[in-house]
Symmetry: C2
Subunit: 362 residues, 2 copies
């Protein structure tokens, strides 16, 4: 993998990645001319015991593009710069123009609860130059390159003092609030271990301390032993399945069988298999009702808080927006107010449906 | 408050409540003729350390009403029974026809994770006989009666062996998945303390153990001392405010200043004031953009798990669906995948907007 770092005229970073060398002389464009002056702060939520991030600068955006404008398309007209230059790159990562978390955060307000600067980072990952593609329809090798990029950003962001947790994700579809359809994901680098990860790691640590092996590793072994009846992809290294305890209809997890702590810890063969698993899952989703399937795709990795995390086991969780065609899964009273998920369908049934969708992987 | 218990022909319970005596001779209708045969089970989610409820009987509903039919309207035609009879009742509660949790739950399937019967209860609370009303537009005394009903159900359900937590809530608006617009709420009675409550109680207990007073009580005192600048209602006993650590734009909490553990523990004067606070909040919401304001309203009370909970402090949290007119607040990658809430606006600003909305309380 080749990588080139560029700095935008407003001070933000852009990284270009490709399997081939990236030539000199590319310049990083920006739709914004002013230097970035982002700021945000965190407040402690005493009842939930978690940090809430406030980026009120975001509402005073100086740059309000027209709805049809695509900032992730390559710049073709120097008078109308986008976020990425033309050139032979395959994947691009840049710092969000209006980040919720930023290394520039400073001077949190005084408050009746504890506050901190909203340090960390918010990055955009452009999966392809093709605005009409989707993650699942990209060639396997491109998806493997994106995994390499996520791994590279995990290491680079994780090495920062102000980053305790690196969280790549993709929101796909208007149903989850996406208005920009150029294929892309995001990376949030938090200055704390966020609540869901903290909770899972706590469970994983208790199991690991007691049993000397990983909780997810143990669960995956049981899933395979249970006639693999919820498994929808089984490669040499990586499994995709509707977990026995799915909270969402059609929820899918993708994980290596080996309890590697992060994408950065995966071998090249494991990454190839991970790419194939991701592609299989997304194409099965799209094939299920013969239309693009909106979801949230969330990575779970080891924190980068300087402590050892032998309990961590990298995996992806897909949360679909729909429970049936045209029926959204709402997170209403029980889910949002009490945190208790309820489902009208069984994971076994949804796994069977997904397993039956045939997909062609190049 | 007067109360009458009736049994529906399918075996489900109906309770009618009113300020005046309810006459003999009312019969409980049901849109379903078959005896209820609900079943559901819980599975342990090892990574999150929580129970997920599966009620797959719900998808095989034998009764599929037309979309315009209102099962919460009083029965006027014996050939087309609804869920409630005509008569001089003011508030009605009945067991859901297709409950996610039910005292009838039995024989959970064997699984690779721990399973349990999905015991507990799911009840519907009909706020009024008027299908065109809304909770906020009901007279103060009716809202106070509804509080009495919630308190009564808290005690009755909480006394059951299979109920560890009683959770009244209201989902309002199509934006949170509500298709039935007759004013109503629900009560879920869980056989476990659900994750959000468990987490909050853990924080509250640690504070209470260390300081000998309540965490929410302490926060409310600070809120008032902070020039009450996020307070939108201040009665003799009850406060409504946008909390300093709001996760949602326009999030509002309603709580008594006194750390009463549940609605059942509130005095009559506190309940009156609570009713006034609820009405004020909802009318401010509706007045903000001059249209019905969709939300999730979630109660937090002491568990009914047989243990003492001096740390508990009853309160309501409102989670609005919108962050701006026509702009939904999506729970996307950071919120759903990592549990980290981010906001583009400050609680102080949203509190100022709500405080400025004038409402007339009878």
């Amino acid at each position: 993998m080749f990588k080139r770092h560029l700095t935008k005229p407003d001070g933000r970073s852009l990284w270009l990645y490709a399997r081939q060398p990236i030539p000199d002389g590319l310049a990083a464009p920006s739709p914004s001319a002013q230097p970035v002056a982002a700021n945000s702060h965190l407040r402690w939520h005493p009842l939930r015991g978690e940090w809430i991030a406030y980026a009120s600068h975001r509402q005073h955006r100086t740059f309000l593009p027209p709805p049809e404008w695509n900032p992730l398309a390559v710049t073709t007209d120097a008078a109308a710069p986008t976020e990425v230059p033309a050139g032979p790159w395959e994947v691009a990562v840049f710092e969000n123009l209006f980040p919720t978390l930023t290394g520039l955060a400073h001077d949190p307000p005084e408050s009746i609860v504890e506050t901190r600067p909203g340090r960390g980072a918010c990055e955009v990952v452009v999966f392809t130059q093709d605005p009409t593609a989707s993650l699942g329809r990209l060639p396997l090798d491109r998806i493997a390159l994106i995994i390499d990029v996520w791994a590279d950003r995990y290491e680079a962001l994780g090495a920062r003092d102000d980053v305790d947790y690196v969280f790549p994700f993709e929101n796909r579809g208007v149903e989850v609030g996406v208005t920009l359809h150029h294929p892309h994901g995001q990376i949030y680098a938090y200055p704390f271990v966020p609540p869901v990860a903290a909770r899972e790691l706590e469970q994983q640590k208790a199991f690991h301390d007691a049993r000397g092996r990983g909780l997810l590793e143990d669960l995956l072994t049981r899933e395979v032993a249970d006639a693999a009846r919820r498994v929808i992809y089984r490669g040499e290294h990586v499994l995709a399945l509707v977990p026995v305890c799915a909270r969402y209809p059609y929820e899918v997890w993708v994980a290596p069988m080996r309890p590697a702590p992060s994408l950065a810890a995966l071998t090249s063969a494991e990454r190839q298999d991970f790419a194939r698993a991701l592609k299989t899952v997304i194409l099965k989703y799209d094939g299920l009702w013969q239309r693009p399937f909106p979801y949230i795709m969330a990575f779970h990795q080891a924190p980068t808080d300087g402590r050892p995390h032998p309990e961590a086991h990298v995996h992806v969780e897909f949360y679909p927006a729909y429970r049936m065609p045209n029926r959204l899964k709402y997170l209403a009273g029980s889910e949002s107010g009490a945190g208790a998920f309820t489902a009208d369908t069984l994971p076994e049934e949804k796994a069977k449906e997904l397993a039956a969708v045939e997909v062609a992987i190049d």
